[in-house]
């Protein structure tokens, strides 16, 4: 009996050692590429080309960042993205939460039909081309509105929010305020909203990240260059990266750079800086919201 126990604890110990090693490896795989981008963004381009930047920055320099911030179109699109993301997140949260509240009321008549109306869109849709033509017909094509509104409510988020309201706001509260003669508006704005901070944070992360990271909507539905969001502009820079003529593109970025070869040199480090600048806000947002994020997702997924 004791021998068996010993063998068991031995097996468990081996499991924990292997498990720890696996996780160290996983953490490395996840974090190293991100780390590499950051250290390369502050290194000297020649050192990057020579393949010397592997564990730490080499010949520290901020020339990449300087070039990025001088590049007018990029900065302009950055501003566009901030506006699009902020507006659409506020709108998304408002529309999602109010609809989720209605769906969470047990006495709401028409729930089955409206649920079907929403869920059906998860399984069948018009597809890219019919959607594009319809957007043109309703005059949303090439307007900032199409970027803000497209994807404004996701069925998934709506269901998570409904579950949250159902499960985390005590029903007694509802009964009591209804007895006091409160209307749905009063109850929703005075009690549900203040008690929904967690789910609001979760929705802000989901909608915000989705909007910030989307390049495709801008690519398909916008024609004016000065309306384009950041990611669509990034894709163009990327398109020049893949044929390895990023230098040409960066030339326009660095108009006061002495020569073509200097511009090429800067381009080699600027691409790392662009990644940092474009991804920074999202990771920071996640960092701030992370506490709520996990909690909200768990609630949504456990009881959804």
């Amino acid at each position: 009996m004791i021998g068996k126990k010993k063998k068991l604890s031995m097996a468990n110990r081996i499991f924990h050692i292997v498990n720890t090693m696996i996780w160290i490896l996983v953490m490395f795989i996840i974090l190293y590429p991100l780390y590499l981008v950051i250290i390369a963004s502050v290194s000297d381009p020649d050192a990057i080309i020579r393949g010397e930047v592997i564990w730490h920055p080499v010949d520290f320099s901020l020339m990449g960042y300087k070039a990025v911030f001088k590049y007018g179109e990029l900065i302009h699109s950055y501003g566009n993205s901030i506006i699009y993301t902020f507006t659409s997140v506020v709108l998304s949260i408002a529309v999602t939460l109010s609809a989720a509240y209605t769906l969470s009321r047990p006495k709401f008549k028409g729930k089955g039909l409206i649920n079907f109306y929403f869920v059906f869109t998860m399984f069948f849709g018009g597809g890219l081309i019919p959607t594009f033509l319809v957007m043109r017909d309703v005059h949303l094509y090439n307007t900032p509105l199409v970027i803000i509104l497209m994807g404004c409510v996701s069925v998934w988020n709506l269901m998570v929010a409904r579950t949250y309201i159902q499960s985390s706001i005590p029903n007694e509260l509802y009964e009591a305020s209804m007895l006091d003669g409160a209307s749905h508006f009063q109850y929703f704005f005075r009690l549900v909203l203040p008690l929904s901070k967690t789910i609001i944070a979760v929705l802000a992360v989901y909608y915000g990240v989705g909007k910030w990271n989307d390049y495709f909507t801008g690519l398909v539905y916008l024609r004016d260059r000065n309306l384009l969001p950041l990611q669509t502009i990034l894709r163009e820079i990327l398109a020049t990266l893949q044929v390895d003529k990023s230098g040409d593109y960066m030339m326009s970025m660095a108009d006061n750079m002495e020569s073509m070869s200097e511009a090429m040199r800067v381009a080699n480090v600027a691409k790392y800086c662009i990644i940092v600048v474009a991804t920074g806000p999202v990771v920071i947002l996640y960092g701030f919201m992370q506490k709520y994020f996990e909690k909200g997702v768990m609630i949504g997924s456990l009881k959804g």
């Binding site: 529309v95 018009g126 989307d214």
Partner: protein, 321 residues
């Protein structure tokens, strides 16, 4: 999330819609505000999801901008026939299917394994740190992910080729290699999504009754045995659910990612339906033809998810609806 969603959609069958007449004045007086609150969402879905359904008709028409969606002439199944007979038909279908099936086979099990292993980590702070970190790649945009791939895999300065050359091999231009496209697509997808994919499983695992583990320990169960006889059976309904959803997507495409990863060199494998529809539809303005392709794929996907759902319901009693 999906496991119990069935419960919420089930009341659809007893929708009170038909009995509207019975709903009294009292009800409307007390509850009209509910309908005001849900109205914006209804309008949103109408404009962005139901109006495009009306646009599907151009798949059966020859779309002309001057005549519009409604006014263009009907041509029946012309565009579908053209697609089935097209030179690219087989390649597109095969590329899309293979990319998705390999992706499913490789990407599907990893979040499950990670969730089970994470569950065994002792110490809450360590666990929380890992959990927070593994979600991070999910927040990186498709464009940036592709940008990182181009940079790291670059034949001249990419870290993979720097290492290869240091070991005496010659450099490879991976992004222009049709044979490498699927591997890169899938591995980068795992890097980005596997951590995030654990959320559902972790939620299920944390809901397991602790007394089960205690009882198993008294009986002298090892960690392996606990995983095999408690964790995995408890995860099964969630696993099935995610599997059904994934099966329904076997012919749909992650257009935006494949589009940014497409280069002249990897077209033989990276040309998938979504990318083709984008390039030919919006690029060359063949609206009706590509709308027909889109509809064809949507229908297959729809049938597939319904089919898998039915099979799953019959064999394991787990279903979406």
């Amino acid at each position: 999330m999906g496991v119990k969603r069935g419960a919420s959609t089930a009341p659809a069958k007893q929708s009170p819609h038909k009995r509207k007449g019975v709903v009294g004045k009292e009800y409307w007086k007390n509850n009209w505000q509910l309908y005001v609150l849900i109205l914006p969402a209804i309008i949103y879905f109408f404009v962005f999801h139901y109006l495009p359904l009306y646009g599907i008709q151009i798949a059966f028409k020859d779309y002309k901008a001057v005549s519009g969606i409604w006014g263009s002439a009907w041509v029946g199944l012309k565009h579908f026939k053209a697609f089935f007979e097209a030179y690219y038909f087989k390649r597109l279908l095969l590329n899309t299917f293979l990319l998705n099936i390999y992706n499913l086979l490789w990407s599907f099990p990893i979040p499950i394994i990670l969730a089970i292993l994470l569950n065994q980590i002792r110490g809450d702070r360590k666990k929380r740190f890992i959990q927070t970190t593994i979600y991070v790649p999910y927040f990186i945009s498709t464009v940036v992910l592709a940008g990182m791939l181009y940079i790291f895999l670059s034949p001249t300065s990419g870290i993979f080729n720097v290492v290869r050359q240091a070991m005496g091999f010659r450099a490879i231009d991976y992004m222009a290699d049709a044979g490498a496209f699927r591997t890169i697509y899938i591995l980068s997808g795992i890097w980005q999504g596997a951590g995030y994919g654990t959320i559902l499983y972790i939620a299920t695992l944390s809901g397991i009754d602790q007394s089960l583990y205690e009882a198993a320990e008294i009986d002298g169960a090892s960690i392996w045995q606990k995983i095999r006889y408690i964790d995995i059976p408890s995860l099964m309904p969630t696993i099935m659910m995610v599997f059904i959803l994934d099966c329904g997507k076997l012919l749909s495409s992650n257009t935006d990612k494949a589009l940014v990863m497409q280069t002249a060199g990897n077209i033989p494998t990276s040309d998938i339906i979504g990318v083709y529809v984008y390039n030919v539809g919006l690029g060359s303005g063949q609206f009706s033809y590509t709308a027909a392709i889109g509809l064809f794929i949507n229908l297959i996907n729809f049938v597939m998810i319904m089919g898998v759902n039915k099979i799953s319901k019959k064999t394991t009693d787990v279903g979406l609806f």
